[in-house]
Symmetry: C2
Subunit: 580 residues, 2 copies
């Protein structure tokens, strides 16, 4: 088993700031090069069937998948900050690509390929721009529950989309669930016996191999064996759809021939793919990075994956991302640095140059099986249940994303999830948690009266803690809470506001505090502030409230001193230490 010490750290000084690969090379040695070669070979062998499969999933000729697994991997190796992330075509992004392009291409394959390349370019441009402007943090607005719901729904849509290929139906299973299901159901009479047989054999072989020889690349074995069988038996003559000719060689770089209007109409899809592709990839990279000790830079990853996408666009490929399963394989095969990606790219390039004539007879059903098996692993049942149990509103965000994606499609699903979770964030910040506090007897410690028994309270001194930033979205509500508190406690002569959990404040928050102080003052009640955090203090000082409070002696380093001052005595255990 490898330990953190086996993994080189990327140097990030000098020329390596512009070409991160230069930060990896000085750290490489014979041991890491060997490990990278083995891992790169393993991933490369896995990439060949997946590239073909995900290209067909995206609605493109299989060769586009190979192209997307060569130059983009080289580009990622040059720029990436993760030693183990495996970039290439991935199922969810390919499905999103198909959903974006189908309505635009009018069934013209040349136009479709040009649009796919354009989409990859747009995704790349968006990601690079976000990285350059250091917006990596903004991308975290895609929460885990939303991502889980989206990926689960995508897996379902992908599986349904493969049913025609698995059964040899004369139908398309793509699009939102209702249309896809009815299309599949309507075509069930066109089922092809030999195709079903091929699918069944492929599934059986994959399952058996996974059980008896888990280290063997099952997908590749199935592809090789069933392609040979298909060629030998002439299955394409018996109603089994096969891959057909795949051109040999590598494409020259070219800008896709498209109009500005087409670019504009693809922008929303590009944004969604940029977001999903990056978020999934960076989550994988970070989780592997925490095990290898290699730090992943979010903004750097945006630039690296974005450049990989842009190169995929230039070389006739399709949008790419860091894949979950493939990166896990890369990690457990021992990848140490991005050099492993170079090895994978070489493997795929060799295939494209030499081996493509051999895959002509590959049955489409076999690719469909590899897709279904791969995406089945994306459904995170435990994550869904635990999200629902942990926080109902997060479970709701997951459900909203899941259902919207299934019923209305991928872009609607992503938008619904993001909008829902942002709305929840705003809603929660407008209704902050507040607690009335009481003293643990004999101490200077104050706790929530609603949670602890046996606390001391003073009918003349109310102590309250507000657990949120005090900003325009909640300032009025916080004031109302404090007013209600005073109404409920008619003998109150002082209100102590424990500000320890108020992490931020804006003009509305300052006005509200000033207004409350005046209002309570007119009723003979003093407002005292305790444990005010630095940024809040600065803002109150600029607003002018702070000066009034300090002049009146109504600011205290902690709650105990504030209560003592309100009671006109020294705090338990002497005056509190430190100045304000």
């Amino acid at each position: 088993m490898s330990t953190v010490a086996d993994y080189p750290r990327q140097r990030r000084t000098g020329a390596a700031r512009f070409l991160p690969l230069l930060g990896w090379l000085p750290e490489s040695n014979r041991r890491t090069l060997r490990a990278d070669a083995v891992a790169g070979l393993t991933v490369g062998v896995m990439l060949i069937p997946q590239s073909l499969a995900y290209a067909t999933l995206a609605g493109l000729p299989p060769a586009a998948g190979l192209y997307a697994s060569i130059v983009p991997l080289v580009v990622y190796a040059l720029l990436g900050s993760s030693g183990t992330l495996a970039v290439g075509p991935v199922a969810v992004v390919s499905m999103m690509t198909a959903a974006a392009l189908a309505p635009l291409a009018d069934g013209d394959p040349t136009r479709y390929a040009a649009l796919a390349a354009l989409l990859a370019l747009l995704v790349g441009a968006i990601q690079v721009a976000m990285g350059v402007f250091r917006l990596g943090a903004a991308v975290t607005f895609l929460s885990h529950p939303v991502l889980t719901g989206f990926i689960t729904a995508s897996a379902v849509l992908i599986v349904v989309g493969q049913v025609p290929s698995l059964l040899g139906l004369d139908a398309s299973g793509s699009g939102p669930l209702p249309e896809a299901l009815s299309a599949v159901a309507g075509a069930l009479s066109t089922v092809s016996g030999p195709t079903v047989a091929v699918s069944a054999v492929a599934v059986a072989v994959l399952l058996v191999l996974k059980r008896v020889a888990p280290r063997v690349p099952g997908a590749l074995v199935v592809v090789v064996a069933l392609t040979a069988a298909s060629a030998a038996l002439g299955l394409d003559q018996r109603g089994v759809a096969v891959l057909g000719e795949v051109p040999t060689g590598l494409p020259a770089p070219a800008l896709p021939a498209v109009t500005l209007r087409e670019a504009a109409s693809l922008l929303p899809a590009a944004l969604a793919i940029a977001l999903v592709g990056y978020t999934e990839g960076v989550a994988v990279a970070k989780s592997l990075g925490s095990r290898s000790g290699q730090r992943v830079s979010p903004d750097g990853e945006l630039v690296a994956v974005g450049a990989a996408n842009a190169s995929a666009g230039l070389f006739g490929g399709l949008p790419v991302a860091g894949g979950f399963a493939r990166s896990a394989v890369s990690f457990s095969a021992g990848a140490r640095t991005p050099l492993s990606s170079l090895v994978s790219a070489a493997v795929v390039a060799l295939t494209a140059l030499v081996l493509t004539p051999l895959v002509t007879a590959l049955p489409m059903a076999v690719l469909a099986v590899t897709i279904v098996v791969a995406v089945a692993g994306l459904v995170d049942w435990r994550g869904m249940v635990s999200t629902w149990r942990t926080r109902r509103v997060d479970g709701l965000a997951l459900a909203v994303t899941l259902l919207t994606t299934l019923l209305l499609g991928v872009e609607a699903g992503i938008s619904a999830g993001v909008v829902f979770s942002l709305a929840v964030l705003l809603w929660r910040s407008s209704r902050p948690h507040t607690a009335e506090l009481g003293r643990v007897p004999g101490t200077g410690v104050f706790r929530n009266l609603a949670r602890y028994d046996g606390l001391e309270t003073d009918p003349e001194v109310a102590v309250v803690r507000v657990d949120a930033p005090m900003v325009f979205a909640n300032a009025e509500r916080v004031s109302d809470t404090l007013r209600d508190l005073v109404e409920r406690r008619p003998r109150t002569r002082a209100v102590v506001l424990d500000a320890s959990a108020i992490g931020d404040c804006d003009c509305d928050g300052a006005h509200a505090l000033g207004g409350l102080r005046r209002e309570l003052g007119e009723r003979g009640i003093t407002l005292r502030l305790a444990t005010v955090r630095g940024p809040v203090r600065d803002l109150l000082a600029r607003d002018g409230v702070w000066r009034e409070l300090v002049a009146a002696g109504h600011v205290h380093p902690d709650t105990a001193s504030a209560v003592a001052a309100a009671q006109g005595r020294a705090p338990v255990g002497g005056p509190a230490p430190g100045v304000l």
Copy 2:
């Protein structure tokens, strides 16, 4: 000077919960009735010229303003929770009404009036619905800086819009600033000498009266005097535009004859007016309420003002709101309960029934002068400067709203302001303030190292405080901050997270904490949590992280005990009190 004791409190039990006026009546006595009568009379006299003026500002016949000042005032008196708020046509809302209706009415006055009534109905429906669903708090998403920017820009647009009336130009000055200014500039050659003279006299009289007799209702005096002069001199024959016939009598209630499509196209404007009208009104009511000791219920006010708007729609009026200047007059004239509104309504009703024939000769320039003088008071220079000084980003929100309103119009301005301030809220919650802490020597108190000198630190124990809820929008960033901290302190063996300012947590926050704990653990560093707030604890418990933390003994009631445990000794001053 009145004191809080002079102001009755509204009873809120029994039948008064459904008809709030019943909660005021038992608290009234001869003294409050007298005060209400005087204040109601004062406001009523002020309302007559303002109603005529604001109706023309809204592009409606003057009578609509009178109608909007009768039944809506009665409705507000029945339902309102503020004893001093004066409801009626207000300048900003009238200008928003004109901006919303002008593009739809095609210059047809009947259609225009029907659309204005429909708009009032929609505004009322939106406000009542928000009140019934207790969304009063949601309305606070309109921050003070945004409101200040919007009202200031509105005042400028209103003043420019009155220039044609003031100078007798043959042009419209309505709409965004560039169009309005070029329309006014292009028509400067059509200036009317007699109109300018009337305007100048009106301004002079108003200024002199304000100086020598501030308690005299200047607008009314100017209106009466200059109407008499206009009739005597036959000014309408000399190129001075006059009000013309105002129908006598009161309208019967009627639903406006409009289509569903028209209603749908007015919805955005109705939403903006509902928001602005209510926010301004409730701010006035609360500020007066804090002086009179009368509690204002936000949801109750929404219902009351909403019902007033709906009645304005049924009785051929225009959208209304609680006015700033008028409420201040009502307050200083001694209003005690909403009964004062009934008196004002009676004064306006009497005018509509009897006095309208007398105002035919009223010069439009005089109304324009009263409008300009009224809105000049809405520009809050000091508020703008202090907002900019207090918090740069709030000043930016103000500037964005101000400029967008001036250049693109009122709805764009409100939308830009709301979107900008919500974006700032999200942006700030994605980049929370964090502080590394040190101990005040000889105590258990920890303070921000960046702000205080002479604090003790332990190279093996890092203490850090996060000043924000830990949610999907910032969880990754917080984790990164803690990782950076550990990188910077290579000898660190324990990280103590002071969670006192973490007021909320979601699934992503819990995952991040769990992941960080594992990641640090693999590097031999323990993560300890101190002062975890109740709601956060509950969530961590449901997620499962809490159990692991408690089992490992890594949860502490306060920072001092956590640090002591990390150092393997008892905390200064004995173990911390209280259980967790």
